[in-house]
């Protein structure tokens, strides 16, 4: 069995093509001038430039975190280009018809047709290509409901007060090394505002694509759900197959005001590198949400890509009765490394959080769950339930669990459970005896293992996630 598993872990990365698009790309390197130029291109207000420069100065004083269970060569931050945009975007297209057809083809190939008539009904998409947003669909329909959904660069011009009010309130400028870097150089990303009491009429979605060589992608997403509103937001990511590692250091901030609910789903499929660990994306992401009274934030993620993942979507449960959820499937294979999990910070009374994490390790990969559940002194009657399960496929990989539990309230209840298991020979034999080939059998077993998480995904994504997992597992069993 394990011999069979060892055999060829070669798998196709379907999104690995490169698009021939003429781009305007900054030379590599980072200093204050680069930030000034970047801010100028975006036509940003003065306070934004100041904010960036402050973040940059903080970043210079910080050191790259080394506590995660990942190992990668030192990144030379002067070897990266901090801005790249398709030339055709210089005069921003006003409609899809003006968008470079090659760009549209790229997204079509990725299964994200941007032509509205071809789109999955009910999903509005913001497509971010390298450093800029290419197009945002369904904007008018959303505007009718009062929903703002646009590139953050545009929001900075159109709604500077809203952005200024919330930017950096959940993930402060100098929060950590990668967040500080992002704050200094972020180029684009999505901005969402849902007005009071509004239930967003459709799923919102951003699709991130890194295309250009030697560029980093530093997007910033800010979602504000005003009192009593609801939004479901989806995020997908891919990148071409390249031999060099590319850095993706994003920041996502969610603000759920009183009684609001935000559902944030991610299917992350950045290029993971080849079977020898060459190339692939370094995915160093800071995602955090703040819940006011009676608010709810739910993170669901399916992580199959990236060479190295460092990511902990978190909830600060500040308001009484607020709810945080984290559902995660992380699959690593080849030489991938993932260190991912969540933080649930309970501050308010009767706050509740649920963490379900499923880690699947295959090949020579290492997959770690790292989480923090903190019950503050004021978290009267708060509850957490955590379940972390790991599945190992083959005997060359690793599965790790590092849960931190901190409690200082006697009435708060925390429960954490973790198990590890393998796809057993008995299970495989049974499936085979019933006529299934081993690959199908493994993917069935893995799908079953992840069921609790998949059912949290919006329908369109659940199908995609299941398929992604199947493709990712291809070749992991002989």
């Amino acid at each position: 069995m394990s011999e069979q598993i060892d055999q060829a872990l070669a798998r196709k990365y379907d999104a690995g093509f490169v698009s021939e698009i003429e781009s305007e790309t900054f030379p590599v390197g980072l200093d204050e001038d680069v930030i000034r130029r970047l801010s100028a291109i975006k036509g940003e207000p003065e306070w934004m430039l100041e904010w960036r420069l402050k973040a940059y100065r903080t970043w210079l004083k910080q050191t790259e975190p080394e506590w995660a269970h990942v190992d990668y060569p030192k990144i030379n931050y002067q070897d990266i280009s901090y801005y790249s945009a398709p030339k055709s975007m210089k005069d921003k297209p006003k409609s899809l018809d003006e968008v470079d057809p090659e760009l549209l083809r790229t997204y079509e190939k990725l299964g994200i047709p941007l032509h509205e008539q071809e789109m999955l009904a009910g999903v509005a998409v913001d497509a971010v290509f390298d450093s800029v947003s290419v197009v945002t669909t369904f904007r008018e329909k959303l505007e009718e409901a009062g929903v703002i959904f646009c590139p953050i660069s545009e929001a900075l011009q159109k709604y500077p007060d809203l952005v200024k009010k919330y930017l950096g309130t959940v993930v402060p400028r100098g929060d950590n090394y990668f967040a500080a870097l992002n704050s200094a150089v972020f180029t684009d990303g999505s901005f969402v505002y849902i007005p009071k009491g509004v239930r967003c009429p459709m799923e919102l979605s951003t699709y991130f694509r890194i295309n250009e060589q030697n560029t980093g992608q530093f997007e910033r997403t800010l979602i504000v759900a005003d009192e009593g509103s609801y939004v479901s937001y989806l995020e997908g990511c891919t990148a071409p197959q390249r031999d060099e590692n590319q850095l993706h250091a994003a920041v996502v901030e969610l603000v759920a005001l009183e009684g609001a609910e935000i559902k944030y789903s991610t299917v992350q499929n950045w290029y993971p590198g080849d079977e020898n660990g060459k190339g692939g994306i370094y995915n160093f992401v800071t995602k955090r949400g703040l819940c006011e009274k009676n608010a709810k934030i739910s993170w669901t993620q399916v992580e199959t890509g990236s060479a190295v993942t460092w990511k902990y979507p978190s909830c600060i449960l500040k308001g009484d009765n607020s709810v945080g959820e984290f559902y995660s499937v992380a699959l690593t294979r080849g030489k991938q490394q993932a260190d991912t999990g969540t933080k649930m910070i309970h501050l308010g009374k009767n706050t509740k959080s649920t963490i379900i994490s499923k880690g699947i390790s295959a090949g020579y990969s290492n997959n770690a769950y790292r989480g923090l559940v903190r019950m503050g002194p004021g978290a009267e009657g708060a509850r957490n339930f955590t379940e972390c399960d790991s599945l190992l496929i083959g005997d060359k990989c690793g599965a790790h669990t590092f849960p931190y539990i901190e409690s200082s309230n006697p009435s708060a209840i925390v429960e954490h459970e973790a198990t590890t298991s393998k796809v057993s020979d008995d299970q495989l034999f049974l499936c085979q005896q019933r006529g299934l080939d081993p690959e199908k059998a493994v993917s069935m077993i893995v799908n079953g293992f992840c069921k609790e998480v998949f059912r949290e995904l919006p329908m369109e994504f659940a199908v995609e996630a299941g398929k992604l997992l199947e493709i990712s597992l291809e070749g992991s069993v002989g």
Binding site: P403, I405, H416
Partner: protein, 415 residues
């Protein structure tokens, strides 16, 4: 840099005995160490501020007796402030058992000293270079020593001391060792014990770390298990100004079995930190660890339970369970059960809970007319008491149960 550590390094240079070559290696490592701070993972929740510039006497002439335990007929080896006060020559030892002072050169000591304890423990290195007094317990092959061996370690006010216990269990040997430490005054004691357990040998082990008040107690018990050996260990800890213990259980042979129960009861304002590491380096081993804590007002408990399954350790069964209860708003628990797994055909699980009560058990007690407050007390103390009941030595269990019960009731009252 800590003043205290600088002094340790200075004093280490003056130590000159037959172990000096080994101590020199430890000293070299110690010199490379940086003083742990908040960012040092192993000391994340425990501040060493109280030790940083500590300056205490290094000798004392205090006399103390081993505390009597009814029904326990143990061979007592008594340390007072790091001095071995029991005349070893007077001991009436059963056949197969040899007990020597660490100052006497012996094969057993050479074989065990620094060979079991991992060298990353900062205070373990301090103990390596400064613990000149210690005992070496050597149990011959096939020897079954029924009489428990108790190492009593008493720390008195205003003294710094370092003690070492080395135990070697021969093939198929059997013994019971109790490490019994106490002290309430402002003292610093490091107490490290290393156990080398040969094929098929069985060790029953207890560590009672009953330091309280201003005492600072830092120590560890470290076990290396060979093929088919068995370890049954129970650790009971109080908190003090600072108590920090490291336990390492290393499955260096196949088919070894380890059971490790530990309980900590922290009175108001105490601090207790236990790091346990289970290393499965070889296949077919089993480990069961139960950790239970009750934390009183303004006290802080830290538990870090790591299970590490190495690539070759297939067919391992390892489980760790940690339960905690906070008695008041000022109490704090920081727990981290960790799994690090590199072999696929293993069954590993851990669980950690804070403040969880079994509703069905509560209902059962209520239907018997017991009021809710009392029922909660019974259940809460019950989960620590369960580990006391589980101790193989009944005399020890009978001695400990009322002491812990009293402590718990006092804690309830003061919280």
């Amino acid at each position: 840099m800590s003043q205290w550590l600088a002094h340790v390094i200075e004093r280490a240079a003056a130590v000159d005995d037959w172990l000096s070559p080994v101590r020199a290696e430890a000293l070299a490592k110690l010199k490379e160490q940086t003083w742990p701070g908040r960012r040092t993972e192993a000391w994340r929740y425990t501040s060493l501020h109280a030790v940083e510039d500590l300056s205490l006497a290094t000798e004392s002439s205090v006399q103390a007796e081993a505390p009597a335990i009814a029904g326990l007929d143990a061979l007592d080896l008594v340390f007072v402030d790091g001095r071995l006060t029991t005349p070893l020559a007077d001991l009436d030892l059963p056949e197969g058992l040899t007990i020597r002072a660490l100052t006497d050169k012996s094969e057993a000591a050479e074989h065990v000293f620094t060979k079991v304890k991992p060298s990353h423990h900062l205070f373990g290195l301090v103990n390596d270079v400064l613990a000149t007094q210690g005992v070496v317990i050597d149990v011959a092959q096939d020897a079954v020593i029924e009489r428990p061996i108790r190492v009593v370690n008493f720390a008195s006010d205003n003294v710094e001391s370092h003690t070492r216990v080395l135990v070697s269990l021969g093939k198929n040997a059997k013994a019971t060792v109790i490490e019994h430490g106490s002290g309430t005054g402002h003292s610093l004691n490091t107490a490290f014990a290393e156990y080398d357990i040969a094929n098929e040998a069985r060790l029953e082990h207890y560590r009672f770390a009953l330091h309280q008040g201003d005492a600072i107690h830092v120590g560890g018990s470290h076990f290396k298990l060979a093929n088919k050996s068995r370890l049954n260990s129970t650790l009971i800890g109080y908190g003090s100004q600072l108590t920090r213990l490291d336990v390492d259980i290393i499955h260096a042979g196949e088919h070894a079995h380890a059971k490790f129960n530990n309980a900590y009861l922290l009175a108001p304002k105490e601090h207790f930190d236990l790091h346990s590491t289970i290393e499965h380096a070889m296949p077919n081993g089993t480990t069961e660890e139960n950790a239970r804590g009750i934390i009183g007002d303004k006290a802080k408990a830290v538990f870090n339970g790591r299970i590490h399954i190495h690539r070759d350790a297939q067919k391992t069964l390892a489980e760790l369970n940690n339960r905690n209860l906070l008695l008041s708003r000022g109490a704090q628990i920081n727990t981290k059960p960790e799994l690090e797994i590199y072999a696929d055909d293993v069954q590993c699980a851990h669980g950690a809970t804070v403040a969880e009560i079994d509703e069905e058990a509560l209902y059962y007690l209520l239907t018997r007319g017991i009021n809710k407050q009392m029922a909660l007390v019974m259940l809460n103390f019950g989960f620590v008491q369960e580990l006391v009941f589980d101790m193989p030595n009944k005399a020890l269990a009978d001695w400990l149960q009322p002491i812990l019960k009293q402590r718990f009731e006092d804690m309830m009252e003061r919280s």
